[in-house]
Symmetry: C2
């Protein structure tokens, strides 16, 4: 994740696609069994990043729970992410953002956990309501080089495709097993994540093409070495509905969880909608390039000879953003954003 | 706090003075009432900074609790500090340091809270064991300029002295009232903090004199403006035993807490001990200067015209450290480190 607040400012793409999962979360908050007094009601936000995209869903969940448990009951909101996440920005967002769920509620308590959600990171049977938005598409690591692309969905390399698919299955199992331990009996977990359509379309084609051709251009300019570009891989994976459902096919429950609901849907393409309104091709290109920079350039920079501390890292990001913005501005078009929303219940 | 890990590497002065409070913590962990199953046993570490100095006390507390509650009971350790604290370093320290209390214990769960401990930041009646080391000497803010020194204990300005003493009392009350809400009935809070001897000696005289004269030198060199140096104030306050005890004099309990034990003691002066062994005056000066840089230079830098982002901030810190190191190396001597250890009990 690039430095303080960059992601917060540029993550409108995610925020625009939360209607379906937000209604799932509100329904879960309205119906999930609450723990006995005086235990706090615990909400876990798995993969919170810098917190900006967590404000609306956490506010909705807290507000719904407040109607059931009154103003004085302690509600604990735990935001998790990787250890290197910018938790200072997260806590500052929670304190200062006018849309923070902490404003005006003296009995809501935020905390953070800096550990990978592919293991158990909260006490067993402690979580009433779980939420995870745009997070479980990130695999635990890149399991292989992708010789011909940064995103495995657009690779023609069978070994890379197989390695990513295998790890995506293992990670999905590990995620479910860990949440199965953490959820209270009756607890609900709502997930929204990048996905893949039934016919294998990961979407984001134009943006990823612009990224790939930007990397080629930076190589021909001499800024990048070919071996560095081969190292660059975005370890995200769009699962199909079949892949999400797989753990629940042999038996109804997996790790104590059952799948109450799954919905495959298409995310709003706010950047295209904006272009349809204003016809501003430069803004169109700049918006997607800025989103790409905030969400994946720091991962790409790991492929540089000296990683993120490589002295070329800042100019690499600046140039790639500029090249992508210019290319995308040349032929604006809609972006297909396949998503999945899931509701899981602990038995 | 200066960037990633600086404080972790240079905070040996604190770690050397924990014998008295560690024995208080171990006794509290061995005797404090535990919450009923299945609630996790919650330990709060108030003012954790980057976590390095929390490892030994948290390991001692967890290990003592494990003997009472078995290997499987969830123990939750919550590290608190200000929102801008470097929580990434804290989580990385917890994950990677061989001395981490998390090593080999699958049922201990760490989290962080990025809010000032001068308010309630954890659910009511949720904390079994509290710990706060070298933290409550930091006031909530600097209540006044100190015209003649960076540390109010060495100021001759009556208005500044009165303003700091008044805020120190208010902050101490606020700290106790907040912890009184958070502790479980019977819960214990162990505090170690910088203090002031009965005859008003805050200690650290030679180090603070070197800092003050270093600031004068940097001003005469033209690096600092006199108005900037006047803005520089370290908002720490050494309370006397009478000031610690004050809330408990009119009545036994304050905010539901009673003071079980207070001990004023002198911190180990490891840097002087090292000099007595090796006679290395340069190392002596460099050690105190590095400690000063890690613990208070970022606070001093707030006095620069553009604060910590002032382009002179790095050179200001480098120069002040060098000047202090040179001055302290000219006449090595022991440093008086007055501390207080307290045990508070929730009724």
């Amino acid at each position: 994740m690039e430095g303080a607040g960059a992601y917060n400012r540029r993550s409108g793409v995610q925020a625009a696609s939360l209607r379906v999962p937000l209604s799932m979360l509100e329904h879960a908050a309205a119906t999930v069994p609450l723990p006995g007094q005086p235990a706090p009601v615990v909400i876990a936000d798995y993969g919170a990043s810098s917190g900006h995209n967590s404000l609306a869903p956490m506010k909705a969940a807290v507000s719904s729970l407040r109607q059931r448990c009154g103003a004085d009951r302690a509600i604990s909101v735990v935001h998790t992410d990787l250890p290197g996440n910018d938790f200072a920005v997260l806590f500052q967002t929670l304190a200062d953002d006018p849309e923070s769920y902490m404003k005006g509620d003296e009995a809501v308590f935020a905390s953070a956990v800096g550990r990978s959600f592919y293991g158990q990171i909260l006490p067993s049977c402690s979580v009433t309501l779980g939420w995870s938005s745009w997070a479980v598409q990130w695999l635990s690591h890149a399991p292989a080089q992708i010789p011909d692309h940064v995103q495995v969905a657009y690779s023609n390399d069978p070994a890379a495709r197989a390695a990513f698919a295998r790890l995506a299955k293992e990670d999905w199992h590990a995620f479910l097993l860990s949440r199965g331990k953490e959820l209270c009996p009756g607890g609900r977990l709502v997930i929204v994540t990048m996905a893949c359509s039934d016919d294998g379309d990961f979407g984001h084609r134009g943006v990823l093409e612009a990224m790939q051709s930007g990397l080629r251009q930076l190589t021909s300019e001499g800024l990048l070495r070919p071996a560095e570009v081969r190292q660059m891989a975005i370890p995200t994976f769009g699962r199909t509905q079949r892949e999400f459902v797989e753990p629940f096919t042999a038996q109804e429950r997996f790790g104590g969880l059952s799948l109450e609901r799954i919905e495959m849907f298409e995310g709003d393409d706010r950047i295209w909608s904006q272009f349809e309104r204003d016809g501003d091709a430069s803004l169109f290109g700049a918006s997607w390039a800025a989103f790409s920079r905030a969400s994946v350039f720091p991962t790409l920079a790991l492929g540089l000879a000296d990683g993120r501390n490589d002295p070329r890292a800042p100019v690499f990001m600046d140039r790639l953003e500029a090249v992508m913005a210019a290319q995308l501005a040349r032929k604006p078009g809609p972006t297909f954003i396949p998503l999945a929303g899931l509701v899981l219940v602990k038995a």
